[in-house]
Symmetry: C2
Subunit: 217 residues, 2 copies
């Protein structure tokens, strides 16, 4: 007694030293860090834990990022980038027609729910991550708005506001991102069961509703 207490550091001397390129090492570290961030939030990003998981010492992480803060900042950039990449790949899958909105919504929902990006978006948002990632949903907004303009011209209705499309897309995102974070509570608050099926139905209802408002048939 009194020497195992020397703590985590002592156990498991690291295996044989592996030398990565600085770039490779940074990416490995960031990937693991992002996983923790997405799954369990920013406070789960612990340099010791990350290091051990990779099989390096925590000092190595400090070597590459200077400090935990440095890691978090790099992580923020990295996370923002991968969120953007994911989002763009979903939008790329899209035929450009509002009729494909359900597919898009499902794709977005998958990003947020299954891949843990909801928490990540929350974190980025709270850190005031303003500059990057803005306007990412503009293509979606544009397509919807364009369709509305055509439809209105065709039916001789008043020219719709672009802001409607913006609000709708924002709502879609907000709801889809919030769903994995707080969905269960709010489903229960209206006495709905909290299961996969209800979630899916909710998502469909949301898209159908937004579409029917934007593009009344």
């Amino acid at each position: 007694m009194g020497d195992t207490a020397t703590s985590a550091r002592t156990r498991n001397p690291l295996p044989h030293r592996v030398r990565r390129s600085a770039d490779q090492a940074r990416r490995t570290i960031l990937a693991v860090a992002e996983k923790h961030l997405a799954n369990d939030g920013p406070d789960a990003v612990r340099v010791q834990v990350i290091a051990r998981e990779i099989g390096i010492s925590d000092a190595a992480v400090h070597h590459h990022f200077g400090s935990r803060q440095g890691l978090l900042e790099a992580l923020m950039r990295h996370a923002a980038r991968s969120l953007r990449t994911e989002t763009e790949s979903v939008l790329a899958d899209w035929n450009g027609k509002p009729s494909g909105l359900h597919r898009i919504a499902d794709g977005i929902a998958t990003i947020y729910a299954d891949r843990g990006y909801a928490r990540l978006a929350l974190w980025l948002s709270q850190e005031g991550w303003e500059s990057r990632g803005s306007g990412i949903f503009q293509p979606l907004v544009d397509a919807v708005h364009r369709t509305r303009l055509e439809q209105a011209r065709h039916n001789g209705r008043v020219r719709p506001k672009r802001e409607d499309a913006q609000f709708a897309v924002a709502t879609l995102n907000l709801a889809l991102a919030a769903d994995p974070l707080m969905g269960s509570g709010f489903l229960r608050s209206v006495e709905l069961p909290d299961d996969r099926d209800t979630r899916a139905r909710f998502r469909r209802w949301l898209v159908r509703t937004l579409v029917s408002v934007l593009l009344p048939s």
Copy 2:
């Protein structure tokens, strides 16, 4: 050197000892804890910080709650209770007519945004706070659904599903709660400015949209 290092405990010997009733003490502690939780999230709930802020020692907090975990559990009950109370008081302000929905939405939005309860709801949700607080929005759902039933009977339309009202209320809550947490990011993602005015317009748009879907005129 080496003795100021004895840490925070040492600075500022506490003023004259104040003796509260156990109940009073617990309530004071919980109130401060809830403030930190609502403003800065669960990890901002630090017994030392709370104690110092009240002017007692951290050991006093342990005396009342046993452990930080104990405090968090009490806090969860307390937070859930006050969230419920707030919500109920907003619902009480309501004339029961769907036309008053904007007022209600504003009230709910105020709870979430201005009083920091969005984070609190998020925390409760993540802790899997299932049992309590469920069904809290049932009165709202009921009123909306009732109105829809009447309207449908009057116009000879098909009987509307109750689930629609539930989903709508859930969406309203989800969006209003998520707005203070991640609203700015998503507003920017559709290239909208992130200011008070836009937020307010967004909220109005949301309610108007949901109402127009539920109660087409």
